[in-house]
């Protein structure tokens, strides 16, 4: 597959790329310093490299930028303080969604089981709900003749699903 073109990327490169992608360029809205071609972004990328060479951890490097520009410089919200809310809402949403689906299906199923008599035409006074077996047979026969006639007349492309 694409593996024929897979390039050898060092672990350090991967780490740098990940770090760069997590820090925003302050003057280009919404772009990471990895993505932006702004001068400041390039300068910041150099700082990241320097600090990695100096042995700083990811946290320390990110912290350095936050000190200078504020938490807005991080591409994703921190896992503390208000940032927790940002991360918490999606999984909570998932749980709520699953419960909502299950509950809806349960209620629909229960309503179905409750009204055994008038299953199909609950809202319809117009259609006659009773069908005696002889009627069913008679109409089925008529139906079969009609449908068979149509099916055999038309080959394909005429009918639709």
């Amino acid at each position: 597959m694409a593996c024929s073109g897979l390039i050898e990327v060092t672990d350090e490169e991967t780490r740098i790329k990940k770090l760069n992608k997590s820090i925003m360029c302050p003057v280009c809205p919404g772009e990471s310093i990895d993505q932006s071609q702004n001068e400041l972004a390039g300068y910041m990328r150099d700082i990241v490299r320097e600090k990695i060479d100096q042995g700083n951890s990811d946290e320390e490097i990110r912290g350095y930028f936050v000190d200078r520009y504020g938490p807005v410089v991080l591409m994703e919200p921190p896992s503390s303080g208000l940032g927790v809310l940002a991360w918490a809402v999606p999984p909570v949403g998932l749980v709520v969604a699953v419960i909502a689906v299950w509950l809806t299906l349960y209620l629909m199923r229960r309503r179905n089981l409750g009204d055994k008599g008038s299953r199909e035409d609950m809202n319809d006074e117009s259609l006659v709900p009773e069908l005696s077996p002889e009627e069913l047979k008679r109409y089925s026969a008529l139906f079969e003749r009609n449908v068979m006639a149509r099916e055999s007349k038309t080959k394909t492309g005429d009918e639709d699903q």
Binding site: E31, D34, E120, M122, N123, A149, Q161
Partner: protein, 673 residues
């Protein structure tokens, strides 16, 4: 000429107001002539807005800087053909474009509705007129593109340089059309509710038709936007979870849910209330999209149509939502389901789950988009929600969606039993696992990547399994292979059209997953004569050519590139600087193959002759763009109508005439109908 355009807009406004009022009146009073009058009024808006548009474009082409909008969005140096782009590149002009496009689409749909849903259509026209009236009102009173300046400037400010690209001829029109097109199925649905005719699924066929048309336009708009970002913005990516991008994605998600669940209503008369809720949600999200596009509450790379009047869009969105909810509550009694759920394990239930998933993704996207504002308001610190957040949260959800897409069509309607399901899932699941193993063997180690490929494998196998079995079964009944498959397709167009669309989504998914995990990027400093390598590509920087144009300074680098040992010829990445805008635009040079893209973009040309380039290898990007025509084809196949021959008026005598037996005897049979 400008005055003519202005008069045309005023006339359009008045006749639209008439159409709205009289449409509702005609519906309520059952006045067919009133309804026809309203309809014709709506039709007449189209030529009026065409005249207004023509006058604006005329002003652009003739450099009439007395028109404020022309002065702000073009200049003498702009090539004439870009008048089309300049027309909708600014706020006021884009409003006129939207009004025009909507009036055309509305007129077409009104014509169709008048024959298919004659008693619902007056109300639908009423709703469409109100929507159009809003846009015309904003144009007339807040942002008139034909407004004139008292002091005529010598030259205009010029068009934003980022817009000078082929993609800008089609992406924004498509995108804007997509957003406003949601109003059409919305009008049909709300019109049906207002008319008290929502309860027997009368509107479902038209709702499905216009819903799918709208969905198609939205999808193409999104893909075009991604393609434009990839080829012109020069950062090597195609989707940044930017607020404007998200605002287009959210209505798309809701509409995708809608076009699926409307099928359940068509088939079984279920989900009547849910579909109303969905279409109202879709339209609200579309309006939110228009707000975010214009209001600029959240900073975005995109905000070229920025203005402070976004808030009026927000207000109208709120009003529409409020009114829709009120109407829904008043009429919801009519929306009780006909059919009922027979099992948790059924396609109906799966559709509900899928719908919820789409809405969840839309909600999460919305949450991430507005969180910065929220954090600012609450804590006084703005937090950024960027790509990493969205990828981490939406990625797995979308993967789950693709899984459902693979498995869902295999579930039967009404009820399924576990043995049946397992039997149908055997092959796709097995194939998915096989793909997972194969990717491992080929060296893929990222767990999410392996997982994603497996799921795509399941989806593909499910589709191909049915195609193969269907073809085989027709073949066993006497048809040769080359006939069996096309006829299978033709005989079941909606179903197989849907499969084709799903295949396109798998192509899209594979392209996105591979390019997200396995893109490689390097920044290199080179001077002419230098050669560098990235992967199997070797590239030599030959020289830089500088060209000065009236509005910009362009520096184009020439590279000679080899892949392995094979020469790929020359590539010309460039960078253009627009002094008036203080903006630089880059044009990446891309060599694209089925397997990967080699991407060269200049970051900086230095004084000393050296230049900084960004080089990328993006695997499988071609598949993302290739999915678009497949998707369009699938949607068109799914929408293709029944042949007229098979439509005959339903009546017993017709049936008994067709059959070979004796007609059913009826009491007091007359001459038949």
């Amino acid at each position: 000429m400008v005055e003519i355009g202005q008069v045309a807009i005023v006339a359009a406004f008045m006749v639209t107001a008439y159409a709205g009022f009289v449409g509702f009146a005609g519906g309520a009073l059952n006045g067919r002539d009133l309804a026809t009058s309203a309809r014709w009024g709506f039709y007449s808006v189209v030529p009026l807005l065409l005249i207004a548009t023509a006058s604006l474009i005329y002003a652009f082409v003739n450099n009439d800087f007395s028109v404020k909008y022309v002065a702000e969005n073009s200049n003498l140096a702009m090539p004439r053909i870009y008048a089309w782009v300049a027309f909708y590149s600014g706020n006021a002009g884009s409003l006129l474009y939207i009004a025009l496009a909507f009036s055309i689409m509305g007129a077409i749909s009104t014509k169709v509705l008048s024959t298919r849903l004659p008693y619902t259509s007056p109300y639908a026209v009423g709703v469409m007129s109100i929507v159009l009236l809003f846009f015309l009102g904003v144009i007339l009173f807040l942002a008139n593109p034909l407004e004139q300046l008292s002091v005529i400037p010598e030259d205009g400010q010029g068009i934003n340089p980022l817009l000078i690209h082929f993609g800008m001829f089609i992406h924004p029109p498509f995108q804007m059309l997509g957003l406003i097109s949601v109003a059409i199925p919305f009008s049909v649905a709300l019109g049906a509710l207002l008319a008290g005719r929502g309860g027997r699924d009368e509107w479902v066929d038209q709702g499905r038709l216009w819903g799918m048309v709208s969905w198609l336009i939205l999808t193409v708009g999104l893909l075009l936007g991604a393609w434009w970002a990839y080829t012109i913005l020069g950062w090597g990516g195609y989707w940044a979870w930017d607020p404007v991008e998200n605002s287009a994605l959210m209505p798309w998600l809701a509409m995708t849910a809608f076009v699926h669940s409307i099928m359940v209503q068509k088939r079984r008369g279920m989900f009547r209330m849910w579909n109303m809720v969905l279409i109202i949600t879709s339209f609200t999200l579309a309006q939110l999209g228009m707000f975010i596009n214009r209001g600029g509450p959240v900073p975005s790379v995109h905000s070229f149509a920025e203005s402070t009047m976004g808030w009026i869009f927000l207000a109208i969105m709120g009003l529409t939502l409020f009114l829709s909810v009120v109407i829904f509550i008043l009429r919801y009694e009519t929306l009780k389901s006909r059919g009922s759920l027979e099992s948790f394990l059924s396609r109906e239930a799966a559709f509900l789950g899928q719908n919820m998933l789409f809405l969840l993704i839309a909600f999460v996207t919305l949450w991430g988009t507005v969180f910065p504002i929220f954090s600012e308001a609450v804590d006084d610190t703005t937090m950024t929600i960027g790509q990493p957040f969205f990828n981490k949260v939406n990625g797995p959800l979308m993967l789950l969606l693709i899984f459902m897409m693979g498995v869902g069509p295999l579930l039967p309607w009404r009820r399924a039993t576990w043995p049946m399901i397992l039997r149908m899932l055997r092959v796709p699941l097995g194939f998915g696992i096989l793909i997972g193993v194969l990717t491992w063997i080929f060296g893929v180690r990222e767990p999410w990547a392996i997982f994603s490929f497996s799921i795509c494998g399941i989806a593909v196998a499910g589709i191909l399994q049915e195609w193969a079995r269907g073809t085989m079964s027709r073949h066993s009944r006497g048809e040769p292979f080359y006939q069996a498959f096309p006829r299978l397709l033709a005989a079941n167009r909606p179903r197989y059209g849907g499969y084709v669309v799903h295949l396109a989504i798998v192509m899209l998914g594979v392209g996105i997953v591979t390019s997200s995990f396995y893109d490689v990027q390097r920044d290199v400093v080179m001077k002419p004569g230098d050669t560098e390598k990235l992967g199997k590509y070797t590239f030599t920087f030959i020289d830089v050519t500088e060209r000065t144009f009236a509005d910009r300074l362009e520096e184009t680098a020439r590279f000679e590139v080899w892949s392995g040992g094979r020469s790929l010829g020359y590539m010309y990445p460039y960078r253009a600087f627009y002094p008036e805008f203080r903006m630089a635009a880059t044009g990446g040079a891309i060599n694209s193959t089925l397997l990967e893209d080699f991407y060269l973009v200049p970051s900086e040309f230095r004084e000393d002759g050296q230049a900084v380039f960004r080089v990328l290898v993006n695997p499988m990007v071609w598949w993302i763009w290739a999915s678009c025509p497949v998707l369009v084809l699938g949607t068109l196949l799914s929408l293709s109508p029944n042949s007229r021959a098979s439509r005959r008026r339903l009546s017993l005598s017709n049936l008994s005439k067709e059959s070979s037996g004796t007609p059913i005897s009826r009491p007091g049979a007359g001459t038949g109908s």
